[in-house]
């Protein structure tokens, strides 16, 4: 049987270090997501202007709702686009 060291991997096995996601609002004690500040809300949009899902941003359900509601309000006021191709 080939010993452990004899096995040559084509690509080094990347051990996926599990970094735990945290809700940035809970951590920094932010209580209110403001809809008038497009630069801050831009972080929660992807390149096409869509709202990023919770599994990527790691925010808790309560704040994800606040963020999505303020994004929709900002879109209503034309502070944020509904669709965009190269937002970032």
């Amino acid at each position: 049987m080939a010993a452990e060291s004899d096995i040559r991997y084509l690509t080094p096995p990347s051990i996926e270090v599990k970094k735990d996601k945290y809700c940035r609002f809970k951590k920094s004690k932010i209580k209110h997501v403001d809809y008038k500040n497009p630069d801050y809300l831009m972080r929660f949009l992807n390149e096409q202007g869509k709202v990023l899902p919770r599994r990527l941003t790691g925010t808790s359900l309560k704040f994800q709702r606040k963020v999505s509601q303020s994004i929709k309000r900002a879109r209503q006021l034309a502070l944020l686009p509904f669709v965009a191709d190269n937002l970032k």
Partner: protein
């Protein structure tokens, strides 16, 4: 007497005094209806994220006021009738929002002055 916040976007084709006249018209309407203006903030001419009524820029004006709920109905009715306004939005502020506004008075909207359009 809950606190509200209303923002409206005016067409860029207005001259200066028409602009001021529109704003003062709504401020007086609020005062007549028994609302107390807490804070006003004019963001000036800003680029819109998407064209509204074939216009790509607009004058933003924010009014924060305390008042009875019935004020909103009349205010929005006047907004709908006014063709100088491209868009309006009025929001009921909960206590976190009020605390936030007091702390960051007039920072969030007018802060992004750099992408101001030099009309």
């Amino acid at each position: 007497m809950s606190q509200y916040e209303t923002i409206f976007v005016m067409t860029p084709v207005l001259s200066d005094e028409q602009l001021k006249e529109t704003v003062s018209e709504y401020v007086n309407l609020l005062k007549q209806k028994g609302a107390e203006i807490v804070h006003q903030d004019n963001w000036g001419l800003r680029k819109l994220a998407y064209p509204i009524k074939k216009k790509s820029t607009g004058f933003y004006h924010l009014i924060e006021f305390k008042g009875p709920g019935s004020v909103i109905a009349e205010l929005e009715l006047a907004y709908k009738r006014d063709e100088r306004l491209l868009r309006f939005l009025s929001v009921n502020l909960d206590d976190h929002a009020v605390a936030f506004n007091d702390k960051f008075r007039g920072k969030s909207g007018s802060k992004s002055k750099k992408e101001e359009v030099k009309a």
